[in-house]
Amino acid sequence: MRQIADAQRVSMLIDQLADAIKQDMSGTTDPWAIVGIRSRGDLLAQRLAGRLNFDHIGVLDITLYRDDLSEIGMQPIVRTTEIPFAIDRMQVVLVDDVLMTGRSVRAALQSLMDLGRPRRVWLAVLVDRGGRELPIRPDYVAFDLAQDDSGLGLASDNRVEVMLQPTDPEDGIVVCSSDPQVSIS
């Protein structure tokens, strides 16, 4: 496991994301909501909401929408989805920590559509890891590892993890070598 960003860098990256989102927000008069995907996207959404003026904040648990439920044997833990507002006709910023295959985002989009009909969904991620398996493209990326010029020399089975307080002891971004643990994030 090696660190590729410390707490200060993470804070800067979140600022960058917030600035980019802010520009689009100023262009419309629609209500805006920010929805984070458990279990780091929700923390990231809170941080962003602290920097921007969102009308609503929500949390999405995508477990029941995973496309690998029938393959992995054990059922993963189901947590709560907390979106206590109608998302119809809203501009919704969907937030995740790391974008890789795109499968989490696909699940999250399906889940959002079951909750209503937003006018537009934007995708904001802290890290784009590359390695897409679905045609999904983020609107806002703070740290782009998908381009090969990052100089980090990531192997295709390396996992990138974002750590955020209070779930983790401190903020940071790390690269872990391959892990048999099943994950679609």
Binding site: S39, T63, L64, M74, Q75, V78, D168
Partner: protein
């Protein structure tokens, strides 16, 4: 991925009773049910978790609410549901439960939800088939999903979000001897730390229940002021073969929860009933419809609990020895 302190995995392919579950299993099922509550509040009340799976309802005993609750739970998980009932089917032509189960399974079923008038029927069925079996009530043995939903309701009503029921006293009142609801409640509540008092006339409250670790009382009035929950069981006229009490009126006089009795209980006592209510016998109408009653919450929580159970058993590793 989040760091969970202990990597717990639900190990049960079947849900036959709460007696077989550990406290950790019960907690996990209840916590999973919390995640399912919200599904029923959406505009699209469906999640794709069990898409492509088939659940068979095998009900050999009359039931409206449990059967429809299971049907709705399965369809909200996007599973297909087939309904089989005792009357008008081959079961009434003398087919054994084992044969019925194996025939249903041969159609490619993933889980059978079974209700049966004989105690132990669900266990027998689970030994005959390879798919999951969920006990929806077997004779006087257990009704595990009712037990789970009752515990879920108690914990939420009393603000115990971690489902730790230490320090809470629950009275289960009525026909304990014939009640599968009482047994499932008892096993589950004791495992989560609650104190349980079983209350009923001596003819319907065998002394041997004390061996399970609960208190017994033949008088509702004696326990009224110290309990946090009153779970009033239905008098099951269909199961009472002997003269267990002289008259229904006498039973209601001693064990019915009247407005007058309720006034002597703790002001925020939780009043529960597994339904269907015999109004004027177990509960006065004013009590059943009053502010202490959580009877309708029990029904809506039942849906979330059954979704959680179907979700969990369908994902359990298919071990030969798993129960």
């Amino acid at each position: 991925m989040s760091k969970t302190p202990e990597p717990y995995c639900w190990p049960h392919k079947h849900l036959l009773g709460l007696q077989d579950l550990s406290a950790a299993d019960i907690l996990f099922a209840l916590q999973t049910a919390v995640g399912f509550l919200e599904v029923s509040t959406r505009s699209v009340k469906k999640v794709p978790a069990l898409r492509g799976k088939v659940v068979a309802n095998l009900f050999m005993e009359d039931s409206t609410r449990t059967r429809s609750s299971f049907t709705l739970a399965a369809s909200r998980l996007s599973a297909d549901v087939i309904d089989l009932s005792g009357k008008g089917s081959s079961i009434s032509k003398g087919e054994t439960l084992r044969d019925t189960g194996r025939n249903i399974e041969a159609m490619g079923i993933d889980a059978i939800v079974c209700r049966h008038p004989l105690s132990g029927a669900a266990v027998q069925l689970s030994r005959a088939v390879n798919c999951s079996v969920v006990n929806a009530g077997d004779g006087q043995h257990e009704h595990p999903t009712q037990g789970l939903l009752d515990i879920f309701t108690i914990a939420r009503q009393l603000g115990r979000t971690d489902f730790d029921l230490t320090g809470i006293t629950v009275a289960i009142v009525g026909d304990i001897a014939h009640s599968r609801v009482a047994r499932s409640n008892l096993y589950g509540l004791l495992k989560l730390g609650a104190t349980v008092v079983l209350v009923g006339p001596p003819t319907l409250l065998p002394r041997t229940f004390a061996d399970l670790g609960c208190e017994l009382s033949y008088s509702l009035d004696d326990v009224l002021d110290r309990v946090d929950v009153l779970n009033m069981l239905r008098i099951q006229f269909e199961r009472l073969t002997s003269q267990a009490f002289p008259s229904v009126r006498e039973y209601a006089t001693f064990f019915g929860l009247t407005t007058k009795r309720l006034a002597r209980a703790k002001p925020d006592v939780v009043v529960m009933h597994p339904g269907p209510i015999n109004r004027g016998i177990e509960l006065d109408s004013q009590v059943a419809d009053g502010p202490n009653s959580v009877i309708l919450s029990q029904v809506s929580h039942g849906l979330a609990v059954r979704m959680a159970v179907l979700y969990l058993v369908s994902g359990a590793k298919h071990q030969a020895d798993s129960l």
